[in-house]
């Protein structure tokens, strides 16, 4: 790694350089959920003790669910942002900084282009997929896929 790239685990003083360094595809929000502030208003009462929420029933938390819940990543006071463990706010487009707090080596590999998927140009402008583009943050394990059809067997080729 060259000195120009931020070291793993450090957070750029301003959000701008990090965003410019990693041009990401838009976060994969489910339809109509963003901005969260449409429903969650600033003055709303917030119960900070982990509990089962009535809304968002489609979300099944399967990501160290014994130890974490919504407000570990989502910010109760700034609903359209996420926050790091130390409370600093980050936009959804920089969610990798949040994920990287626990998954350090993965973040390092992602920054280097080894983990994850990039599209565009190998020599120039490329787009990175954010972690949630492939791993649902609430249930990050990959879901099995139906494979495309097998090749024809030789004897079947006329």
């Amino acid at each position: 790694m060259t000195g120009a790239k931020p070291a793993v685990g450090t957070v750029a003083a301003s959000a701008k350089p990090a965003a410019a360094l990693f041009p990401v595809a838009p976060p994969p929000f489910s339809d109509g959920v963003f901005p969260c502030s449409e429903c969650h208003k600033p003055g709303d009462k917030v119960d900070r003790v982990p509990h089962k929420v009535e809304f968002h029933e489609d979300i099944v938390l399967h990501h160290d669910e014994k130890n974490r819940w919504c407000l570990d990543c989502h910010d109760a006071a700034h609903r359209d942002s996420l926050h790091l463990a130390d409370g600093r706010l980050i936009p959804f487009t920089e969610s990798y900084r949040l994920c990287g707090q626990c998954h350090g080596p993965t973040l390092r590999n992602w920054k280097a282009g080894e983990h994850g998927k990039r599209t565009g140009s190998w020599s120039g402008a490329k787009q990175y997929l954010l972690c949630p583009s492939c791993h649902s943050p609430h249930s990050p394990h990959f879901k099995p896929l139906k494979p495309k059809s097998p090749p024809l067997r030789q004897e079947a080729i006329k």
């Binding site: 080894e114 990039r118 494979p147």
Partner: protein
């Protein structure tokens, strides 16, 4: 027995001075071509133009332009939509390399069909450049018992792992050495290419390739016009004729314009990586320097530029 007279075999006339056999043959056919044109048969003329075309590397810039224009015209007519055929040269200071993370590939075959669409492989008869092999995790890489025909409801299947194999773009490529007519060679950016117009279909290269990467067009290739990718390269994805060999070119028509190969972009798990081996900051160099990479059949000294690795 003794009355058997031995007649000496007729000695062929030496070719006229200054002519090789090929040229003499071509001259003879030129005469035929003349006859064909006077009889007004344009398909014969087309065949003749193709037949007398020089090897790709021997074409002057002017001749190349004519050849490309002829191909564009013929393909545009055949598929009923504008088709371009370019001959983009290799970039300076670029040697391509590829890496595939075996710990991530789930064997979904998205790459196989993405490749078919992008590179204009024949749909029927079926041609695939990528073969995804399914193997037992317990046994590790064991090509002998690999299965390319798995057909599960979902992948990855329990206890299995997947290894997609296609052209390894060897630095020391056996296929290009055995070709009797020099129709296949390694380009300066490391991609092994085929001049489909020069290939005589002898399939020596297929026998020589230790990776089973080359495909022969036994029948007339067939691509539905609406599915044809109209942006093509002479040495890459232009529609191939019957009777010639083809294979993966790492999407030469994309990578020489700076794009990733199609398989890299369609893989849903990001198992495929591509870049310039000569660029120390490239993704591919990071992988080679930081991961446990291996090449397939290393003992054959083919020196593939396709690296497999375990990212996890």
């Amino acid at each position: 027995m003794s009355d058997l007279t031995v007649t000496p075999l007729p000695v062929p006339e030496p070719p006229a001075e200054g002519f090789t056999r090929r040229e003499a043959l071509i001259l003879g056919l030129f005469a035929l071509a003349g006859a064909a044109t006077t009889s007004g048969c344009s398909s014969d003329q087309k065949a003749m133009d193709e037949f007398v075309q020089k090897h790709f590397k021997d074409l002057s810039p002017e001749e190349l332009k004519t050849v490309l224009a002829r191909m564009e015209k013929n393909l545009t007519k055949k598929y009923g939509k504008p088709v371009t055929v370019s001959a983009t040269p290799a970039m300076e200071g670029v040697l391509f390399g590829y890496a595939l993370d075996l710990s991530r590939c789930i064997g979904c075959r998205r790459c196989v069909y993405g490749c078919v669409d992008e590179n204009n492989q024949s749909r029927d008869p079926q041609t695939h450049y990528i073969t995804v092999l399914e193997m037992d995790k317990e046994k590790g890489v064991d090509l002998q018992d690999a299965n390319a025909y798995y057909d599960h409801e979902t992948v990855p299947a329990e206890g299995k792992f997947y290894m997609p194999v296609s052209c390894q773009q060897c630095e020391n490529s056996p296929c290009s050495k055995v070709c009797p007519v020099g129709a296949t060679w390694k380009e300066p950016d490391g991609i092994v290419v085929i001049d489909y117009n020069w290939c005589i279909g002898c399939r020596s290269c297929i026998a020589a390739c230790p990776y089973g990467a080359r495909r022969f067009n036994w029948g007339e290739p067939n691509i539905p016009a609406d599915e044809l990718n109209p942006v093509t390269e002479y040495l890459g994805n232009r529609p191939r004729p019957r009777g010639v060999v083809e294979k993966c070119t790492w999407c030469l028509h994309r990578v020489r314009k700076g794009l990733y190969p199609k398989c890299v972009e369609v893989c849903p798990v990001g198992a495929r990586k591509f870049g310039n081996l000569l660029d120390p900051d490239s993704e591919i160099r990071y992988i080679i320097e930081n991961k446990r990479v291996f090449i397939l059949k290393e003992e054959l000294n083919t020196q593939p530029k396709f690296f497999y690795y375990y990212g996890l």
